[in-house]
Amino acid sequence: MALLELKQVSKSYPHAKGSLRVLNEMSFGVERGEFVAIVGPSGCGKSTLLRIINGIVAATSGQVLYNGQQVDGINPECAMVFQSFALLPWLSVKANIELGLEARRLPPAERERLTTRYIDKVGLDGFEEAYPRELSGGMRQRVGLARALAVEPAVLLMDEPFSALDALTAIGLREELLDLWQAADSPVKTIIMVTHIIEEAVELADRILVLSTGPGRLVGDIKVELQRPRDRRGESFNNLTDKVFSLIEERA
């Protein structure tokens, strides 16, 4: 049984003339331990899809199943990493990370332990008392990542996590994400990441879901069977990238 399963999920928004459909009858499953990337042109509803999986946004019709159970509202087994970090500027790095744990009503000692652990894991040692404003973009997203990891979710949801960063910073952070995910003691086994950068999807994911635009539909489901670590300039890497590109271009 798939860990997460979407059944005919559609989403429409009210619009000046009737309603605007952004997602049309999406159905797919995500296995435990899988790294899934969702790619597509802007406006294809991929970020909305991620929010439906988390339960921040309700689907207009269709179902989201987790472990075979229908989920209504927020799925507590998921944690989201946001595109523009979504950090509270008036809280220190530590307080930002702890906030997610406070919401889960963990005892202070346990909060302290998890916060320290994940600050260490993402390489934020020495920045505990800094404010997000004082950090670079890459460091800020580390805080966002630590905050999500600290709640030790079964599924990590990432909404274009590297697109607000410069290219070099993004490359470094991607590698660190892979290391964290592959480490034996990682509580997070399953990752769903939304991106519009196809190379990023090919580099990281086990599987790529390709969405078309207007309304968003599933037009491709590609397994990535390249050995890790993947060579970004290798021939098979490029072939796969081209394949995803052509899938998107055909339907655009």
């Binding site: 988390n54 989201m80 509270l88 919401a103």
Partner: protein, 581 residues
């Protein structure tokens, strides 16, 4: 060591604030004294008798609207010239922006009697002087915020746009028409809406003042309402309020709504759909009427614009030589005007200081001893009214962060009620409270409240709109819960709006205070101990110049003191810690 340095810097900061504050107070005092110097020329004016009948209402409405229009056009022209000049460079900015700060800290309503003396003297004792004073009063309530808007928009024109025009060799006039002016349009339209709200407030206030115990009269909606209240004609009072509401709603539909939509296309930043929701629109159903009327107006105005444009285009283009000469002459004229203005200003300050010293050397009246107690009493009233304002607007704003439905429902209602000038309701409120409680204390606080609460509410609602969508999603995704979301996200995010809202609310409150502590109703004077009452007694009963001057100055001292030592500091903290970037 570091602590010592910080303390020393704080000390230096404090003394700079104190010196700046003292200088501003001195300037205001000098100008006030100068205005009072004209009091001796004041003849006794007898305005037209006000008739309280529905038949004359359209005429009174027309009079009021006319004053508003004249003042607004003047304020608009002034603000464009002033704002653009202030944006020319650091030196200009250093002088011109603090000047606006000082101007804003004067409670305009208290200034009105002084303005009447000055303008009546200027108009050789004719009634036109009273009209000019009213227009001047409205002007001062509109111009500053417009000028700041122009200044900010001109300053934030992206460098590349400016450079692109320069690269094409665009001359001054073309640059003004195609770059500087369009860049100001969004802020000008938005601030114009606020300016009209403020303008109505003060227009009604000065008409009420003249309809009160004084000897000059301005026919208008405010004086109509006051007379109706005084004679106990409730039906006419209601009609007057209705007429005012009608004008305000019509203005919104025909002018402000289409203008707001039009102004959107001049924006440099591209915001998401969330912004569009925050239209200043009132009721959507009547809103459908607006565009039609707008198109009709446009049909008439458009040909005129085309003709004027054609005239400008018909001027033959200048050669580079001639253009250089024109530029040089323009620059020279600019400097000449600046020097002349500075000279006049310095002369006015010197004369003002002279008048101030002369006034202070006169024997001091016995009421002076009441000033400290009155200052405390008025400040307490302000604090109570402020606490009530914050007490209901903050929960409203927090509820709006929770429920977009509540916000959609609250915003338009607040816009209609908030854009009604509260001064128009003063007679109604006072008459009601006096009849129920027989005292003025409660009425006074209620009146101050009407001058404060909307500034807070509008600022807070604007703040709610600025909370980034992703942060709200974060709060939901991590299941922070209502209480934690308010405490960790919403309240801190609203801190800058609370501070800016409080600054404007206190400004509005001081103005309301002057009208709220002293009220004449059916020949009986109701008053409480307070600075506003002292000022009004001196203006209407004893006619003591020095008392007017001293009570106004005490008010200015409190206003500038609070601004410099509390609000400015809070503002700095708020914008440093509690902003998104």
């Amino acid at each position: 060591m570091l602590g010592g340095l910080a303390a020393a810097m704080e000390q230096a900061d404090n003394s700079r604030r104190a010196i700046g504050g003292a200088a501003s107070i001195l300037i205001v005092a000098a100008l006030l004294a100068l205005f009072f110097g004209f009091r001796n020329y004041m003849p006794v004016l007898h305005g037209p008798r006000l008739s309280v009948s529905a038949r004359h209402l359209p005429y009174y409405a027309f009079c009021s609207f006319n004053r508003m229009l004249v003042a607004y056009v003047l304020a608009l022209l002034f603000s464009i010239a002033y704002g653009m000049m202030a944006a020319r460079g650091r030196i200009w900015e250093r002088v011109m922006i603090p000047a606006i700060d000082i101007a804003q800290s004067v409670p305009v309503v208290g200034f009105f009697p002084a303005a009447v003396y000055f303008f009546v003297a200027l108009a050789h004792g004719s009634r036109l002087g009273v009209e000019m004073a009213a227009v001047f009063l409205i002007f001062t309530s509109q111009a500053w915020n417009l000028a700041l808007g122009v200044f900010e928009s001109t300053r934030t024109i992206p460098d590349d746009s400016r450079e692109a025009l320069e690269a094409f060799g665009a001359s001054g006039w073309l640059r003004f028409r195609k770059l500087s002016l369009p860049a100001c349009v969004p802020k000008l339209v938005y601030n114009s809406i606020l300016s009209w709200v403020a303008g109505w407030y003060f227009l009604i206030a000065c008409e009420i003042i003249t309809a009160g115990p004084s000897t000059y009269r301005l026919p208008g909606l405010g004086s109509f309402l006051m007379e109706a209240a005084n004679r106990g004609r409730n039906g006419e009072m209601l009609l007057g309020l209705l007429a005012l509401l009608l004008i305000i709603v019509a203005m919104d539909l025909v002018v402000w709504q289409p203008l707001s939509v039009w102004a959107e296309k001049f924006r440099y930043e591209f915001t998401s759909g969330a912004e569009a929701e925050r239209s200043l629109g009132m009721l959507h159903a009547i809103g459908l009427l607006g565009p039609n009327i707008y198109h009709a107006v446009r049909l008439v105005v458009r040909p005129l614009v085309v003709i004027v444009q054609g005239l400008f285009d018909a001027i033959p283009p200048l050669g580079p030589r001639a253009r250089e000469r024109v530029d040089r002459i323009a620059r020279f004229a600019g400097y000449a005007a600046l020097i002349a203005f500075t000279a006049i200003f310095i002369y006015a300050i010197v004369r003002g200081l002279e008048a101030l010293v002369r006034a202070l050397l006169m024997p001091w009246p016995r009421e002076v001893r009441q000033i400290p107690a009155a200052t405390v009493a008025s400040t307490i009233r302000m604090v109570v009214a402020y606490a009530i304002s914050l007490g209901w607007t903050l929960p409203c704003a927090l509820a709006a962060t929770n429920s977009p439905r509540f916000k959609r429902w609250l915003s338009p209602i607040a816009e209609i009620v908030g854009s009604m000038p509260a001064t128009a309701l003063f007679p109604v409120i006072v008459v009601f409270v006096i009849q129920v409680t027989g005292g003025m204390n409660l009425a006074s606080i209620l009146l101050i409240l009407t001058g404060m609460q909307w500034y807070l509410l509008f600022n807070l609602l604007a703040g709610v709109n600025q909370i980034p969508e992703e942060l709200k999603e974060f709060a939901r995704a991590y299941r922070l819960g209502r209480w934690a979301t308010w405490r960790k996200l919403d309240v801190p995010a609203l801190v800058p709006s609370i501070v800016t809202g409080s600054i404007t609310a206190w400004g509005g409150g001081w103005n309301a205070l002057i009208l709220s502590e002293y009220f004449v109703y059916r020949g009986h004077t109701y008053k409480v101990l307070g600075l506003g009452a002292l000022l009004d007694v001196a203006t209407y009963e004893t006619g003591n110049n020095l008392m007017i001057l001293l009570s106004l100055l005490s008010m200015v001292v409190v206003v500038i003191g609070l601004n410099r030592f509390i609000w400015r500091r809070l503002y700095n903290v708020a914008t440093e810690r509690y902003r998104f970037d």
